[in-house]
């Protein structure tokens, strides 16, 4: 269990702790729907109330932020910035996933590679992203590759720790069974290895992605010409709190949509065989 100190740095409670939530939990949620709505009403009410007490530029009202969001979407360069950020994110995260998985497979299968990469993985998990963002900005200046390298450096380790766990979770007794029946390697990989590792890959994607989009915005903020990050910096320099909040909500909204709608749906399709799904 050589990488335990490494994975220990992953948050205990995962950002989305209910990927395949059991039915009773869901029923309970429904029952308390009113309380849930009350929570939202209370939050927005408190926000509106506090903002009415202060100067509008200190805490803009919810309506003002909404108006700002509409205005931001209408800007000429809105989509240019969004696509710049998405491009960084897509390339960076794909690379991080491939590299992180490769290292994870090596670490899961060999004690040597486990020892070799253990410290790198632990370091990148615990070092603040700002450090990587700054070093990348200094190395690459305004080049597009800056955010991409920063994404790879900060999020590969989150993929790696989960892939390592996945490789170790491949059921030995099923592999032995397949050996006894002389099942060919490709069939074994498709039918045993991939399904066994799949849940860990999902967690890997989820973890890595949660880090990746934040570091993208951060690196762009320090050294880019296009991207959401630099837009946030501009709003900050103009002291436009509504603007900062508007962009923040776009980012968080995007992350939540990816997480809830895309990943969770895929996951549900993938894990139909689990007893919970038809309990």
């Amino acid at each position: 269990m050589a990488t335990q100190d490494v994975e220990a740095t992953a948050p205990a409670v995962r950002i989305d702790s209910e990927p395949e939530e059991p039915r009773p939990e869901r029923a309970r949620r429904q029952r308390y729907l009113l309380w849930r709505i009350a929570g939202y009403v209370l939050f927005i009410g408190a926000w509106a109330f506090i903002s009415s007490l202060t100067e509008p530029y200190i805490l803009p009202s919810p309506v003002a932020v909404l108006r700002k969001m509409v205005e931001v979407v209408g800007r000429d360069d809105f989509w240019v910035n969004i696509f710049a950020t998405l491009r960084h994110l897509a390339i960076g995260f794909t690379l991080a996933f491939v590299i992180g998985s490769a290292i994870g497979i090596a670490m899961g299968r060999s004690a040597y590679w486990d020892a070799f990469f253990r410290d790198y993985v632990m370091l990148t998990l615990t070092t603040p992203g700002l450090v990587f963002a700054l070093v990348c900005v200094m190395i690459f200046g305004l080049l597009d590759i800056g955010p991409i390298v920063a994404i790879v450096l900060t999020s590969f380790a989150h993929v790696t720790v989960n892939v390592v766990e996945g490789v170790r979770a491949i059921p030995r007794e099923l592999m032995d069974m397949a050996t006894a029946y002389g099942v060919p390697r490709s069939t074994r990989i498709r039918n045993i290895v991939l399904p066994a590792v799949a849940p860990f890959l999902f967690t890997a994607i989820r973890y890595g992605f949660a880090i990746a989009w934040k570091i993208t915005a951060l690196t762009e903020l320090f050294g880019q010409t296009d991207g959401v990050g630099i837009q946030i910096r501009v709003e900050f320099l103009f002291f436009d709190i509504a603007g900062v909040l508007a962009w923040a909500f776009f980012l968080v909204g995007f992350a939540l949509v990816m997480e809830r709608l895309v990943l969770q749906r895929l996951e549900r399709r993938f894990f139909r065989w689990r007893p919970k799904a038809f309990a």
Partner: protein, 246 residues
């Protein structure tokens, strides 16, 4: 006709500090329509013997092969746990171990599922079946590759008494029908006496202690005098073993 041949087999597992000897100089042969039970106290290397015969593990010394007409025989293996792929349906689990996926093979797989009474469940996921049903899929899987020999590693030990009894009867009739060579590992002497025409006793440390032929007619009723006597005889042998072991 399959031949099981074990010659001077020795298996050592490297352990922390001290190596563990699982099998020590074991030799025996079995061929044709025979049902050999391998009994012994836990930790005497019974499962290791089957794993080596199945090609899952390699011998440290000696040889252990199952051959048919000089080449490697087709072997079915039923494990203590069902060992089904939880993410594949019952039918896909059956097909997983087949060499080819023709309609003929599918038809054969369905036939064996029917033989263990699970035709209805071919689309179910393993988690939807009871433990006994899962084990039956494991047995059907082993038969469905039409093996020359069958290895079984305490296949009924996790099941309740009634289910186990029913499955023993099914197994017996399938063996009579298909005339396979069966190697059956168990620690339950009653089960061994009920099913087999030969019993091999291993002792702790993996040495072969006794090789008994059972000349009793089938079906064997545990309440029958001769069967009970034979069981008592084997048990006596066993008790001596335990004294030696401790």
């Amino acid at each position: 006709m399959a031949t099981v041949s074990v010659q001077n087999l020795r298996k050592v597992f490297p352990g922390e500090g001290r190596d563990v000897v699982a099998l020590e100089d074991v030799s025996f042969e079995a061929s044709g329509h025979t049902f050999v039970s391998i009994v012994g106290p836990s930790g005497c290397g019974k499962s290791t013997l089957l794993n080596i015969l199945a090609g899952v593990e390699t011998p440290t010394e000696g040889t252990a092969d199952i051959t048919k007409d000089g080449s490697r025989a087709r072997v079915g293996y039923v494990f203590q746990a069902p060992r089904l792929l939880p993410w594949r349906s019952v039918m896909d689990n059956m097909l997983f171990v087949q060499a080819e996926q023709t309609d003929q093979v599918r038809e054969r797989a369905s036939r064996y599922l029917a033989m263990v009474g699970l035709s209805e469940q071919h689309k179910a996921w393993p988690a939807q079946l009871s433990g006994g049903m899962q084990q039956r899929v494991g047995i059907a899987r082993a038969f469905s590759i039409e093996p020359d020999a069958l290895l079984m590693d305490e296949p009924f030990s996790h099941l309740d008494a009634i289910t186990a009894r029913g499955l023993r009867r099914e197994l017996h009739s399938m063996w009579m029908e298909t005339k396979k060579t069966v190697l059956f590992v168990t620690h339950d002497v009653g089960e061994a006496v009920e099913l087999s025409d030969r019993i091999v006793i291993l002792e702790k440390g993996g040495k072969l202690r006794k090789d008994l032929s059972l000349d009793l007619p089938f079906p064997r009723d545990p309440a029958d005098d001769k069967v009970a006597l034979t069981k008592a005889e084997v048990l006596r042998e066993f008790e001596e073993l335990d004294l030696i072991a401790t």
